[in-house]
Amino acid sequence: MLKRLFVPALFVAAVMLAVSPLLVARAPLETTMGLVQKIFYYHVPSAMVMFLAAFVCGIASAVYLFGRRPGADRVAVAAAEVVVLFGIIVLVTGPLWARKAWGVWWQWDARLTSTLVLWMIFNAYLLLRKYGGPGSDRLAAGVALFGMANVPFVYWSVNVWRTLHPKTSVVMTLDPAMRPAFWWCVTAFVCLFLAVLAARVRLEEERTRLEELYLQLDD
């Protein structure tokens, strides 16, 4: 199913992303933050894709761990790489905005901290897969499952920790005039996610097949 999605998803993502600067430029300027708010149109969709990919990785890992389907593991590793990739986008665009809006690059706010922790967990997942040696795919599946289940608790605990020391932060409510550009970008990023995921899963499938062929050659 993913394989057939690749070409249309890539096409739609490419066209929509190419058009998106126009829509973003035409959306109204935010009154207090002005131009820096524009980064929001790429920052938030990236964050959405990051959490979506984390969810996909967790579900696929559970299916692999308890259903023992190798295909699920390939989806899990592809999704984990997408988490890390889009996490980088989120963690770079966020501070760029924060420097202008809050005056600092980083705040230990609930959302920021939980995003960072989630990103770290999936980095650990990939490190385990890369350096853990044989059998680490099953172990990594356990980590992904834990990592996904952990996200709400990290958010919750950081939230309680932060509310102990309340501080004013910029609360954003979306102007209706900004909505078309925003949802356009979200759709574009989700299509990009599907295309990247499909390509990565296919790469993993080819790699598995190559390994099997090598094994047959040895026999």
Partner: protein, 232 residues
Amino acid sequence: MAAPGTLRRFLATAWLITRKDITVEWRSREIIYTTVFFAASCILVFAFGFVKDGRPIDDVASAILWIAIAFSGTLALGRTFERERYNETLQALMLAPADRPAIYAGKLAGILLLMLAVEAVLVPLVALLFQAPLFRQPVLLVALLGSGTLGYAAVGTLFAAMLVRARSRDVLLPVLLYPITIPVIIAGVRGTAAAMAPDGGEMARAWVSMLVFFDVVFLTLSLWTFEAVMTE
């Protein structure tokens, strides 16, 4: 759910494994001695960073205490399972006709006892060296330490056990463990800081209940995944 006989067998198996770990440790006392000294060394290093003009900065004692617990906990976990790996006894345990969750529970209880023993030295040491009123609410402190350590050890035992066969396990254990146990560390540090404050009793109790909740979630998840992850 399970019949009373199953539960009794579960507890008996778990206790056998815990007793085995205690006996092995008692003979050499290797892990407990090295871990206590490692924790004390951590505290020493922190003192240079967090003491200004001869006085520790605010709330730093609870942070130092929990970081020392987390660091020494990683060490104890790694050493305990390294011992199993070295003698190839974990494989034997897995081959034994015992429930996997019971094996997990037994190992967890052993680690928990070890970490609590280290904390028994660590807490008075931190209180003494950083003039921290850690014993202002002793019951709350014990509750915080007990529930926090249980949550940390529950995840740690699972990860350390599954990393036994992995390469570069020494570095992978903290890399996996610290981000996932963040909720426990936050609740432990903030709860202990609240318990030291003159009017923080209410807040500290809230953190304890949060820790108990984390314990339930982490234990359930670990018991659930242990069998699947440990099966070849």
